[in-house]
Every structure is written in C-alpha cells, then in structure tokens.
Amino acid sequence: MDLSFLPDWPPSFPPAAAVAVLALLSAAFGEVAARWLRAPRLIGYLAAGALFGAGGYALKALNMEPLPESTLQLSLDFAAAIILFDLGQRVSFGWLRRNPALLGASAFESGLTFIAVFAVMRWMDVAALPAALIAIISMSTSPAVVLAVTRESRAQGQVTERVLLLTALNSIYAVVLSTLLLGWARVESRGILDDYLLHPAYLIFGSLALAAVGARLFHLVAAFVGRDRAAQLMLMLALVSIVFATATALRLSPLLALLACGAFVRTFDHGRRLASSDIGLVSALALMLFFALSAATVDLAALAAAGWPALALLLVRSVCKIAAVAAFAPLTGIVWKKGVYAGLGLLPMSAIALMLTQQISQIDPQIGATAGTVLLAGVIVFQVVGALTLMFALRVSGEAKEEQ
C-alpha cells in the first residue's frame, strides 16, 4: 500500500504556524498578566515572545521552523512604524508654545540623564564613544511601552499627557544626538570635518520634509475619501508604509519622520475630520506583535554579560529622570508629586532603543558592540520594570480607569 501522500511524522510546519502560535500565546499571556497580576499586558506579550526566543525551545518542541530573520525584522520595523506614527498623533507639540516651561523640563530631564550616565560610564572605564552612545540612548523613553500602557489603562490627565509629550521629545533628542555622535566618530577616525553637521542636518530636515509631504498628501486624499472609517484607516496604514519605506530608502530617520508625520496629520486636520480612534485597534495589534517579536529576538543571557555598568545605568537613569521631572513640575503647572509620577512614567525602554543602537552599529560596529551589551541589559530590565512603574504612576495619580 502506498501511503506516501501522508505527511512525515511528526509533520513539519511552515513559519506561518509559528506566527499563529506566537499570536495566540501572546494574547493568552497578556490576559493572564492583566487579570491575575493586574500588570500591563505587554509583560505577557514579552513572556510569550521569550518562549520563542534565542533558545527556541518552544519551536523545537512543536517541530516548527522559526521565522526567517528578515521577516522578523520587517514585521518588527513595521510595527514600530505604526507605534511611532500613533504616538505622533497622540502628542500635542503645540502645548510647548503655550507652556514653554515644559520644554525646559524636557531638556533638563534628558540633559541630566545624559550627563550623569556618561559620567558614570566613563568612571567605570567605558570608552568615550560607547559611553556617549549609552548616555544618548538612555535619554529616550520607549514610545511603545508608554503608548501600550496608557492605552490599555485608558489613562487621561496631566501625568499621562506629560509622559507622552516628554517621551516623544526625548526620543527625538536621541535620534538627533546619536547622528551627531556618528559624525563625531567619523571626525575622530578619519579627520573629515565637512560631514559633521551635514549628516544630522540632512537627517533632521529631510525627515521633517518627508513627514510634511506625507501628511499633506494624506489630507488631500482623505478629503476625497470622506468620513468612511475603513477607508481612512487603510489610508493611514498606506501613509505609514510609504513614509517608512521612503525614509529607509533615502536613509533618513524613520523614527523622526513617522513621529513628525503623525503630529502633522493631527495638527493640520483643521476640520477635525479624522475619527480619533482610527488607528487605535491597529496600534494595539502592532504593539502586541512588537513586544512578542522583540522578546523573541533577545537573548536573556545578555543580562548576565552586561555586569556592573548595566546596573549603574539602571540606577542613574531612574534617579535622574524622576528627580528632574519632579523638580520642574511646579514651574510647568502641576504639583511636584505628580512630577514624580510623570518621572516614573519615563522609565520604560524598549527595542526601539536597540533599533537606534543597531543603526549606529551598522555604520560603526565597534561603538555598537560595546554599547550594545549594556543597553540590551538596560532594555530588558526597563521594559518590564518601566512598564510597571508607569502603570503604578497612572494608578496612584488616579488617571487610569479602573476596569469594571
């Protein structure tokens, strides 16, 4: 009897199955985190992702092929793109004009973090360039975690708004400064001075111009499409893809371009025609994917390898952010206690920080490698701890809506 039409036993599944299992596990773990631990869902997503991680035990047990590296990276990038665009929409940059002290608070918390982290890294004998890169990346707060937790807890109020604004700002600083640092590194190694400012200038103005063109095009088409929500959503996803692809092709900063594009789309929606919740559901999906996939790419062994500098980073960064925002709170119009809460909300880091580091590593592998181990450890810890402190801050400030 010829049974060759039957599959081998055990059957081997194509990568699509891995995605399905990952999504299912993430949803289930997220629910467990939210319901039983009263913790942010993203912690569940991370746990699910970690099961698929570098060890790949789960995959082997199920006899599945892991996702190809390129697919993984592309999905991760696209998820991050949606998240950044969403954050850009959520943040009100015009607020800085009406309350300039906020810009002061932002500059102070980022500046203080940079200086303190850099000093401590140097003191711990990390070379100057990697130390500077670590300091720059630690200024940034994770847009993904901040967005995920504020959305999930349906938080509303001053702490929430400030965390979102300061996050967008310190992410922008990190992009700009890391590019400047790259220029500096080149001057150091090759002694060429002319591209020191040229590259950052191209990056900043190019990204902004791309964002503006994208937003303008979007509004033109949106006016034609009208108020149909499905059409608006499709349009938005198309916009995100185009801006992301163009930024990559022109070697601009996707982070900057997408943040700015989100902000422009919202700001120049003069007739308030866009439905506010449009990208919400997609963004929630992107967040889930983002956390699960990013955990799948991370090797937890890095935690042990990073050692003392990583621990110092954790401590210094936390103290600086909380103290700086609290100190500026009364000037910006809230009580200092709420400043502490906002500071706690700025602690999260995520794989977006690693993406920044990666861009540097591609250009200058040496700086990237040294800084990478410390930052990776920082991200692993701050992703979870920061999500918890943010959730805590939103709860004690009364801004999170208790689920019923």
Binding site: S92, G94, Q158, E161, G271, R272, S276, G333, I334
Partner: protein, 401 residues
C-alpha cells in the same frame, strides 16, 4: 458659592440642630452666579480628567470668586461673589474666565460652556472622589454619570423665607423664557437631540426634580421638608433638583434651569435679566394661585424642544404666544426696573439675541452645518468661551439696531 462666607455659620448651626430650616436674611435682589463648566482635551474635544489639576493651578493665586470640583473630574464649578450691580458681576465673570483660560492653556486643555458635551459617553466618566459624590453615584447608578450636564445657577437674595417662596412661584411663569434663552445643549451623546435644551431631560429622570410644591409661607415649607426628612426621602435641601429652589442657608432662591451659556457675557446678562424680573415681581406684589402651574410642564417642554420658537400658554389669561415674543414683552415690562438697577445693557444684549443672534443652540447648529464634526464644534465653542467672538456678529447688530 462664596455667599457662604457672609451667612453660613449660624445657618449650619441651626440646620444641623433641629428640623427647622432657618432662612437667612439677604439683601433683596443681590445676585450670585454659579457656572458648571466642561473640561475638554484640545486634541479630540472629548471630556478629560483635569478638574483637580486645574483647580490646584489657578488657586495658587487668589481666585476671583470661587472654584470647586463637581461630580466628575471633567467638570468644574465656578461662582461669583454676591453683587447687586450687573457691571461688577460681569467684570468678575470675565476675570474668572481669563484666569481659567490662562490655567487651561498651561495644562493643554480647554474650558467650554454649553449645557451638555456633544459626544461624550457617560460610561467613560469617573466620579470625583468625595463622600457626597460617591453617595450620589451609589444611589443613582448610571443616572449619576449621565448627569454630566452643565448648568448655570443664579441666586437671588431674599429678605425672608416667605418672600422667597412667593418670588419662587411668581417666577415660574418665566421659567420657559430662561430655558429658551440659555439653551445650549442641542447635541448630546453624539446626536442632534432635536431639543434646544436636552440637559433638562437628563435632570427630569431624578425623582425630586421639576417644580417645587405650591407652598407659600416659610413655616409651611419647613413642615413639608420636615415630613420628607422623617420619611427618609431627603436629607437636605441639596436632594431637591427643582427648577427653582429656596436656599435657606444663603437666604436666596436659586434658579437652575439655565444651560451654561457658551460665553460669560451671556451668563452675566441672564443673571441681570432674572434680577430685573424679580425686581418687577416684588414691586407688583401680585396674588399667586396654583393655577399658574397648569401649563407649566407643557411650556417647559416647548421651551426645551423648540427654544425661542416654542409656543407658551398663560394658564391664567389663556393667552398663547411664541417665546421670543414673550421675552420681548417681558423686556419691555422690566426695562424701568433695569434702569434703576443699572442693567439696561444686559437687557439690550438679550434683545439682540432675540432680534439677531438667537440662542446658543442656534449657533451650535449653524456651526455644525459648516463643519459636520462634533469635535470641531467643541473646539469652536472653546474659542467662543475665550472671547474670540467674530467681530462681524457685533457689527451687524450695531448697523441694524
């Protein structure tokens, strides 16, 4: 409201001691205005949680008048001091507005007038953390959250309880006018309700709303209140959501049917209009019988539904007329009193609404026709509250008036 500072201590002492509701004496025809205001997100126009932060911010310096939290974090209540002079009342309301606008800008929110938020969903609201608000929320359930509506309350000082009750009943004929003039809640829960004032429909759901019983002297009222309290129906005067209610501890009656207007200028004019009518009623000192309430609910509905176009019946004379005519007639009749009170400007302004601009509900519907977006309507209302009234609107009237 800050009248408390002048009259409260003896009142609270006696009110808690026994059943008696001592009516404090106030100077006749003094007035104070309370406004319930909306706090919205600038980005989306949706209600937001900001009351405690805004209060903390604007009370860093002495606040002109008084400010306190309301039942949800997206609501704010401000009130003026007690004035008999319209100009002073208006000036204080403008000062309150300016203070709020500056504070709101620093917190990236907007303060908005209007009787209801056009598209908020009641189940999203959170109850402000205070024992009384929790009690109300526990008792009334979803009604308490649906109660996220915004009114203007005007207090008028009375010499004694009996005078207050007489004034209260005589004023009931003018309630439809007040409703129609102040109406600013045509949109509610995301739809055009077809009412000019939908807010009062929300209040009607409460068991102790509507009109006060026909009791005309204070001792009888105290008896009425005492009975209800022994039955456990009410604990204090606060449990009555009547259109007009006596406020013995302030020595006032409080008219509560006004939607919060979109501008403080309108709020001040409405206060002065009420004051002038009260002045007229006290002067005429006419007899009053329960017959005046025959058409009360009918007229009230007409005013809520059709605004100034509503038809009202005078149950005593049998006369029927549209509300805008009734207002013009009343303006004519109380103009001499306004002259004495120094509030002719306020009456002129109200006449302008009748002849040219219409009530706020009309402005809201016109604005919607232009933008088709409720979020945009909220933000344009916020600009109106700031005082960015298009110059052309005022000019047009000067030309024709």
């Amino acid at each position: 409201m800050s009248v408390t500072t002048t009259v409260t201590p003896p009142a609270t002492a006696t009110a808690t001691a026994g059943e008696g509701l001592d009516f404090q004496t106030s100077a006749s025809l003094t007035m104070g205005v309370e406004l319930e205001l909306q706090l919205v997100e600038r980005r989306t126009g949706d209600l937001t949680r900001a009351a405690s932060d805004l209060i903390a911010l604007v009370t860093r310096k002495p606040f002109p008048g008084d400010i306190k939290p309301e039942i949800t974090e997206s609501m704010l209540e401000v009130s003026t001091n007690v004035y008999s002079d319209y100009a002073k009342l208006r000036a204080e309301l403008l000062a309150i507005r300016d203070t709020l606008v500056v504070g709101a800008d620093r917190l990236d929110i907007e303060v908005v007038g209007g009787g209801a938020h056009p598209f908020q969903r009641w189940y999203d609201r959170q109850i402000y953390d205070r024992p009384r608000f929790r009690h109300v929320a526990g008792l009334y359930g979803y009604l308490a959250k649906q109660f996220t509506v915004f009114g203007q309350h005007v207090h008028i000082g009375c010499e004694n309880g009996t005078q207050a009750l007489m004034l209260l009943h005589r004023l009931s004929r003018y309630i439809p006018q007040f409703i129609a003039l102040a109406a600013s809640s045509p949109y509610f829960q995301g739809v055009d309700t077809s009412f000019d004032c939908s807010r009062l429909n929300s209040i009607y759901a409460f068991p102790l709303s509507g009109r006060a019983p026909f009791v005309t002297d204070w001792p009888a009222f105290e008896q009425f209140f005492g009975k209800l309290r022994r039955l456990g129906v009410v604990e204090s005067m606060k449990d009555f959501y009547w259109d007009i209610r006596p406020k013995p501890e302030y020595g006032t009656i409080e008219v509560r049917v006004f939607d919060t207007p979109l501008t403080v200028e309108r709020a001040a004019a409405l206060g002065a209009y009420l004051q002038a009518i009260c002045c007229m009623l006290l002067d005429r000192d006419e007899e009053v019988s329960e017959e005046i309430y025959l058409a009360y609910n009918y007229n009230r509905f007409q005013a809520c539904r059709f605004g100034l176009e509503g038809q009202v019946l005078d149950s005593v004379t049998g006369e029927a007329m549209p509300l805008h005519m009734a207002v013009l007639r009343t303006l004519e009749a109380c103009r001499p009193y306004a002259r004495e009170l120094g509030s002719v400007d306020a009456l002129d302004e109200i006449e302008r609404w009748i002849r040219a601009e219409g009530n706020d509900a009309r402005w809201q519907r016109q604005t919607m026709q232009g933008s088709h977006s409720l979020a945009q309507l909220v933000l344009e209302s916020a600009n109106r509250w700031r005082g960015h009234v298009p110059a052309s609107a005022a000019d047009a009237w000067v030309a024709t008036g």
